[in-house]
Symmetry: C2
Subunit: 442 residues, 2 copies
């Protein structure tokens, strides 16, 4: 290229997340921790294409979703990038129905795309991390209690000691609306979902605008204010004495959830029955979940989901009830990172850097690296000619915890000096001792 | 939905790969094996957005690439899906140059998109698995010998004992073309690249059409027929006695590669110097690699790459020489799967299925599952009401290796019977003994 060639300014589109390697390592650790717990809980992985047919993705969508869609074109037409993992799951289960075993327990951790308004921490390409348990015709409500046990294990494993899973039941809410004579249940549900964000006075105003009477509003207020221990909440709900079947079923499911969740070893301190949790989507029909990290309330719910009656009605006549949750990984990572959660956790995959003093130690340095890798100890060798200070600086900048400097003496004696870069200590070790030492200390 | 509602037929676009969960597990195992070796070799992960600016992706592209591109539209314009991981890497290194340490060792295993002609085993959305080592201004040729050691470790770890890394040097080839007076080096390179596929007579014809004289063609033939052990090939090349600097540099690099690669512990049986390997892309400037699995030659090269002088000239004035390789994971998996490579390897993440005999053992079954998961043993509990035969069938279909059936007796005694589903054997164990047994046997 000629000297007056002007490079194109390297940049990415606004609203897309891109990390430096040391941040990417942390992101991957978070993702792998979650995946490991899915696997330990007997969920199988699936992946679906990022591009799907328009007729599939838009079978249900509309309104906001449709406006946010990324359309794709090549020689083919009517293609789109998926905007969630639920629609592809529904299509997948309907498509491979005869090959799947039910209950079908699947996890999927992949990217989805939404043309969201450009806003700090809101990304247009982001990871969702979903699990669902899907039955054929029936799915025991006991599974509703398994889901929070997985949420509990995930956030514990991610390093949070203090968080709470909030739960409610849509049948209970619908039974309540029925009992007090509310017609437009969905609108009221969506309003209630905002109480914690907008406060009661604004909620009351919205309910008035939606045509609720003062008496109805008072009963809504009473319901959403119910709080206390799980037993207290259940006691107060029973005392309300509504008698329609939907209410009674909801109440009984909520009681069952509370009993079974303890068998799944979720501590009483980490969940609560919360009548204000509704999950606005009309999709849910039973238990609903939201998860809040104590000290990080501004993040909102970091893991949400619920029970639905029928996953894939748009693609099959088979009845597929299920229960599932989703974590928005990209946003969660961004926010935790901003709040300093990962401070001091930065690390590099490479645990050992081998530095030959000069060219005559290169062969020995390469052989030592090969021996460490053979022992599955992550290691690298610096092979460029450079001032020694520059080489050490490389180890420092990358937070490589151990360095072995190879001089004439080390090559001759085959005794290696392992420097701990953080503590400044060092050990003199034979190859076998070196491998054993590193296996224990890394 | 009303009874006369007609579901949309669930399907994906042609040319996209989608796997059943048991195949996805195998795919993920293959991907994780490769990633682990990248990490052990001190490469750091990066991920880049799937959607990039048109001006970035098309800075160099043209011809075939441009025709295969997927364009993306939302409220923004001029967006595309990436067609490889090299262009995004170049953009990334140019963009974050001041924050990176050199040599910059990165790996990236992500999906790319190409609107390829629809053909069995050719996918339009596929994983590439890339590593590169990138220097600033300089990068020691010793790194060219590290790359094959990583290829060697990968295919060994994937379970292949017999494969060969073929290597050549573009400087050697260019020096040769110079010596025998060939002008259009790139066209001839691309023709030579096809010898093994189309045979010599067809190659000869193409070289004639490209205007080579009979004498030039004979010299080309002589060069590409050089074979034997690495020492023999190097000896025959030295005997050719060309004297231009490009040739001599290439020959010296090839000799150095042969020496250093052995320090990296690649056995002589697993690589060869092959003058027919050229890698048609004009991008490469030194060492080039291709990898062939013995017994699977119809796959072509399963891992290819090489050395280049400057990665990111379109986006920065910094000189960034590097060396790297790429594996097309999706196609490789498809082909190996078709050829039966994964036969009998199918497995399920869940290792233990717990079956309560009837409703009164459900609580105990849930508690046992929770205890196993706490011990990081992947397990699940069957909670739906179903005939016992159906429950056992679930374990069989999913290849779950161990089943624990919980009856009254087991709950009372807290002694569990662990059934090995494959061998038909069983053990009676307390919870602690059960966990220890499974830790050893899974």
């Amino acid at each position: 290229m000629s000297d007056d060639f002007k490079p194109i300014k390297p940049s990415i589109l606004p609203g897309f997340m891109e990390l430096l390697p040391e941040e990417q390592i942390l992101f991957n650790q978070m993702k792998n921790t979650i995946e490991k717990i899915y696997q330990e809980s007997g969920f199988a992985p699936i992946q679906t294409p990022l591009i799907e047919k328009e007729e599939i993705l838009l079978a249900k969508a509309g309104g906001e979703t449709e406006k946010q869609i990324y359309r794709v074109e090549s020689d083919s037409k009517n293609m789109m990038l998926r905007f969630d993992l639920t629609v592809p799951l529904a299509r997948y289960v309907a498509q491979y129905f005869p090959s799947l075993q039910f209950p079908f327990r699947r996890y999927q951790i992949e990217k989805v795309f939404r043309g969201e308004r450009n806003q700090r921490g809101r990304y247009r390409e982001f990871y969702q991390s979903d699990i669902d348990i899907i039955g054929h015709n029936e799915l025991s409500p006991l599974y509703d209690a398994e889901i929070p046990s997985i949420i509990y294990r995930i956030f514990s494993a991610l390093g949070f000691s203090d968080f709470k899973i909030h739960m409610n039941n849509r049948k209970l809410l619908n039974g309540f609306f029925e009992a007090i004579g509310i017609q437009d249940k969905v609108s009221v549900l969506q309003t209630l979902d905002k109480i914690d964000k907008i406060g009661w006075p604004a909620t009351e105003k919205m309910l008035q605008d939606q045509g609720l009477s003062q008496s109805q509003i008072e009963q809504v207020y009473t319901l959403t204010q119910i709080s206390g221990t799980q037993e207290e909440v259940l006691g107060r709900l029973s005392a309300l004495d509504y008698e329609n079947e939907t209410w009674l079923t909801g109440l009984s499911e909520l009681k069952g959830l509370h009993e079974t969740i303890q068998d799944f070893q979720v501590p009483l301190t980490h969940y609560q029955l919360d009548l204000k949790i509704t999950r606005g989507l009309d999709y849910y029909t039973g238990t609903v979940y939201e998860t809040f990290l104590t000290g990080y309330e501004s993040l909102g719910s970091v893991c949400s989901g619920g029970r639905y009656d029928n996953l894939a009605g748009f693609y099959t006549k088979e009845k597929l009830p299920g229960v599932g949750i989703s974590i928005g990984l990209t946003r969660l990572f961004f926010q935790l990172n901003e709040m300093g959660f990962f401070k001091d956790r930065f690390k590099r995959y490479s645990n050992v850097l081998i530095l030959p003093m000069d060219a005559s130690q290169i062969q020995g340095a390469i052989q030592l690296t090969a021996a460490l890798r053979e022992a599955h100890i992550s290691s690298e060798v610096f092979l460029d000619e450079a001032k020694f200070k520059k080489k050490l600086n490389y180890a420092n900048k990358l937070n490589i915890p151990y360095v072995i400097i190879l001089g004439e003496e080390e090559i001759k004696t085959q005794i290696y000096t392992l420097k701990n870069m953080e503590e400044g200590t060092q050990e003199s070790l034979s190859l076998t001792a070196l491998i054993n030492f590193l296996r224990i200390h890394i």
